[in-house]
């Protein structure tokens, strides 16, 4: 099983390759969308590169819980409900949702994912 450092280095390489960002931009705290400029189509590329680098399969819903965020049972007035939050937590146990929980606007979810989250996700798949 690779160490956390090895996982970070591989994730970094995938992001540098997929997003054309510099090595030093890829910090654990960097958000994929806000800091690294990832657009929706880039995630296809990122997922592919991670699958290749780690020899894993990444089902889309494990990283992108669109079905929860568009489910009327879990969203009210543009915000994720408590039920929705617990659903998100159980689906994405590797993600740090603490900031999101303070004001869980659906529109902000897209910018939640950090490099560290990705590393933790990959680690959970090893």
């Amino acid at each position: 099983m690779p160490s956390s450092e090895e996982i970070f280095e591989k994730v970094k390489a995938a992001l540098v390759d997929a997003l054309g960002v510099d090595d030093d931009e890829v910090t654990p705290e960097a958000t994929m969308v806000g800091d690294l400029g990832a657009e929706s189509i880039d995630f296809l590329d990122i997922v592919f590169k991670l699958e290749k680098a780690f020899g894993i399969t990444i089902p889309r819903e494990e990283l992108f819980p669109d079905d929860i965020l568009t489910n009327a049972a879990y969203v009210k007035d543009g915000k994720v409900t408590d039920e929705g939050l617990s659903e998100l937590k159980s689906r994405l146990p590797w993600a740090d949702l603490s900031k999101f929980e303070q004001n869980p606007r659906v529109q902000d979810f897209g910018n939640l994912l950090t490099v560290n989250d990705l590393c933790r996700y990959v680690e959970s798949k090893q």
Binding site: A18, I41, D42, L44, D45, F48, E51, R60
Partner: protein, 178 residues
């Protein structure tokens, strides 16, 4: 100008790979203006040819009804130039595919020599981008026949790919209305 940057399919295996050819001729407009006095085929059109090859490879899986667009050129390395008289061979292979997109690798050779290495990311548009089809089925059918796709196209088990019914019906409608 016709925006076709492939001339013919040599191989087409549904959901897996396709090979196309593009013959370069001095009669083509892009060769006049690209670098006057030094006619050669623009590399950007090789990318477009590979995008057309890969895009058709992806959309065929849904009878050419899915709307596939080139979203990103992830990699484009060129090793040579192609001149009038050269034949460009484009080999597209689906590396990964999801509901909303696909990644295709492209190996290009000219006269059996390495010409380019490409990696293209395609998006498959959903209804949030409207519901208008990209092509009139009868028109696309005519193009695909011209490209000989249905002559070489097979499924992975070797079964030939037949012309989708919706294309044949549209063709029949257009003939009747003419």
């Amino acid at each position: 100008m016709r925006w076709f940057w492939i001339d013919r399919f040599e191989k087409f295996v549904s959901g897996k790979e396709a090979v196309t050819f593009k013959n370069v001729t001095l009669a083509e407009e892009p060769l006049d203006d690209y670098l006057p006095g030094y006619p050669h085929y623009p590399h950007s059109l090789v990318i477009e040819g590979m995008a057309q090859t890969g895009g058709l490879l992806i959309s065929q899986q849904h009878d050419f009804l899915s709307r596939v667009v080139l979203a990103k050129v992830s990699k484009a390395e060129f090793h040579a130039i192609a001149e009038p008289g050269d034949r460009i061979r484009m080999h597209a292979e689906i590396l990964s595919q999801q509901a909303d997109g696909a990644i295709v690798s492209g190996q290009v050779t000219v006269n059996d020599q390495p010409f380019a290495d490409l990696e293209l990311t395609f998006a498959i548009l959903d209804e949030s981008f409207g519901d208008r089809p990209f092509f009139i089925p009868a028109d696309l059918c005519r193009i695909l026949r011209s490209l000989r796709l249905f002559e070489v196209g097979v499924f992975p088990d070797g079964t030939p790919i037949s012309i989708p019914q919706h294309m044949l019906e549209d063709e029949e409608r257009s003939i009747v209305s003419d």
